[in-house]
Amino acid sequence: MIIKLAVLLPFLAAALIPLVHKFIKREQIGWFVLAVPILLFVLISSYIPHTANGKTYMHTLEWIPSLSINFTTYLDGLSMIFGLLITGVGSLVILYSNFYLSAKESLHHFYCYLLLFMGAMLGVVFSDNLLVLYTFWELTSVSSFLLIAFWHHRKASRAGARKAMVITVSGGVAMLVGFLMLYAMTNTFSIRELIAQVDVIQQHELFIPALLCVLLGAFTKSAQFPFHIWLPDAMEAPTPVSAYLHSATMVKAGIYLVARMTPIFVGVPTWFWLVTSIGLLTLIWGSFNAVRQNDLKALLAYSTISQLGLIMSLLGIGSLAFAFEFSDALTPVFALAGFTALFHLVNHSTFKGALFMMVGIVDHEVGTRDLRRLGGLLPFMPLTFSIALIGAFSMAGLPPFNGFLSKEMFFTAVTHLDSFNVFSLGSAVVWIPVVAWVASVFTFVYSMILIFKTFFGNYHPERLDKEPHEAPFGMLVSPFILCALVVLIFFFPNVLGHYILQPALASVYPSFPLEDITPHISPWHGFNTELFMTLGVIAVGIILYKTKRYWSYVYTFLQPRHSFNALYEWVITTTENNSQRVTNQYMNGYLVHYFTYIYIIFVGIIGSYFVLSGAFTFDPSKDSKVETFELMLVCLVACAAVALLFAKSRLSSVLINGLIGYCVGFFFIIFRAPDLALTQLVVESVTTALFLLSFKYLPHIKPEVASMATKWRNAIISVAVGSLVTLIGLTVVNYDKFEPISTYFEDSYELAGGKNIVNAILGDFRAFDTMLEVVVLFIAGLGVYTLIKLRNRKEAADIENK
């Protein structure tokens, strides 16, 4: 229950911001917001001793039990890691942005979106129900969209936001399809129950499609090749957002999903090959491209892509542990990969968060983050330099920083693949370590670029907009806390390993004895293969860095027009153009045409269904006697309808239309439906008033010029629709294909405590519909309001496309 409140608290706080932001000073909002993640961090970390003992917490609130959608929170080791990352990095980022963003920005929006994201992300990692997880998952995409487009006056921000949204949401939809397939196999949305039914799932024919769909969702979210293209563009967001969403948390949601789904999907070659090879491809492609970036943030974006690929590939290798029975000798070798994935996940969040904040400081104090203009900043910003040094050395995998440990373990994992031959690994045993090593060399090179191009070299004051100086104390606090973690984890890795990583490992490998598969992390292994690999990385890396200008021409082979970005642009523009062409063909602005489409389809589908299913049956003996006054009312309606055709002004047609409506209301009274009659009469009055209001602004009605053929066509359609509706009305009395449901509602007093069945249905039996209708009505009202009131602000569009 506490965890549930933890998920909901950010949403609650986000909802409160718009209400209270007028009463507190702008620059103080951030400090109030900061309380939320700190509180949550303390709350979640208070569970660490319990989860370290293998305890898990589960709590269910029934949401829509009839569709087996329940809001179930589940706290175990894996969700603990992510919960701590989300709230911990979240606190630091909010602290940092208090100094980073100026008070002139619309801070209340910024923090509102940020809290929305935090809640959604916590929802993703704590949900046990797949559909609830999916809802939160898409909510993270939406809040990420809002945050990337925070400076929405910039064209690049909007484009980046859209790209991120399109790619992650389409992946999310694929994932939803995968979830629904899992539901079709097992009849449950609960991850716990799915894991219990692994045998059923793996035998099922939908197993592979479901696997592919779920992986698609994970890969798009975690920016895996070839979906990585959204991440560099997402760097248009304010730097605290990049540090938080696009390196520490949101992009790790895909990793979370893969880790969470490992017990369900493992044991088949498809999973291993896909996750591992896509991960390795992303790893090498990201690090290779990071080297050529000139923008510091773009460099970090590609570096994040490559590190995510590293974690992904480790999870893939880790899944090999399931391919055979447990054995003392072999299982720990592969479980080591899974352990390293989790370890590197934490390490990456610490050093990459610090690096992003460092870049933010440079951008903020120097006014640019272009490597061609930067250089020689060391004398001006010594503290920022030390952040960069610690972060980048950790990223490059050098001691004494935590990145060294996880990189060594990564090498261990890839070099021990040959110890057991599963899934016909074959030559992969050779090329996987090679790819890992080459990628590490590039990682080393761009880490060096990051430090030396920014802080050393020649200082060019003429290329900078501002006089560089050290950042204020407040901005340095957060990155220094992260740097302290980077060093502390190196010296005490097993504290983290025991309390945080080991319980998480239990979630990934539920069936194995935990003590046996948890490795002991030690910074010194002696002179083994891994250490020599690292030494090789350093040697080759330094050579490549020194000779970069001699070999960087290889990047010219990568033409922009052959890139995935070009493909994305092409897909988007062709879809837009084609759909616009198709839409323009039938949406021509003539209401008559639209009605024609609607009626033809109505007559075609409904009419032919009734004819084909033989539903038209008439039994006049069942019909009750038609009274004279009923006939009179019918005549009145018919006369009014015909008169409507010949009305000369809009006013008279509205009045005649109202007359028809009131007559129908009378019918409801005659046939004893007082609720309907009341509604009909009031709606008729209000709409007539509405019509009169809006018609005042329309020009006079003009006689329509139409050819004889059109007139005949329209007449035939009208008559067909009229007669079909009449026939259906007559048929319904005799229709007996389905069981009538009215008996159920007759017990409304016992079931819902109300004697008015109509309202019991509206307010209780079908209250879900009513609730959504209310929401729709409200949105429609807002739509009308904004369309009318806000259209005068067009002149503001000039600054939009800077």
């Binding site: 209001l693 879900f768 309001y785």
Partner: protein, 143 residues
């Protein structure tokens, strides 16, 4: 648009109260007899519209200083809030409950959470209808 319609205004002055009372009556009657949140809301909205027709917007705004957009928003919050609220009592989303209470003045009264839900519906209807009509008619005056 200036209209000086004494008869309409005099009639509206008294009729509005009847319509408003009817709206509130219909709202509460809806539980066991014809009526309900939607109809109640519509009747209330039509009363407001009637006032706008008889008087100008500024006068009505002075007597009823509500922002009808906020009324509608509050209604939506009320309706969804009742739905979510039931979850806090460990029953499925949108569960309703009812009971009989003895209240001062009213005696034995049947109270249900559906009433809160329906109040949300009614407020949304009032808010949205008035917002739409007001925005259309105000727009015309600006031109």
């Amino acid at each position: 648009m200036k209209i000086n319609d004494v008869i309409l205004r005099t009639v509206v002055k008294s009729v509005v109260f009847i319509v408003l009372t009817l709206g509130i009556y219909l709202f509460f009657a809806g539980h066991n007899a014809p009526g309900g949140g939607f109809i109640g809301g519509l009747v209330l909205a039509s009363a407001v519209v009637l006032m706008y027709l008889a008087y100008d917007i500024e006068t009505v705004q002075k007597t009823m200083p509500f922002d009808f957009k906020k009324v509608a928003a509050f209604g939506v919050l009320l309706a969804t809030g009742t739905a979510i609220g039931s979850v806090l009592f460990d029953v499925p989303f949108l569960s309703h409950t009812d009971a009989y209470y003895t209240l001062p003045l009213l005696g034995k009264t049947h109270l249900t959470t559906v009433t809160i839900f329906e109040a949300g519906v009614a407020l949304t209807v009032v808010g949205v209808v008035v917002t739409i009509i007001l925005s259309i008619s105000e727009e015309g005056e600006e031109q």
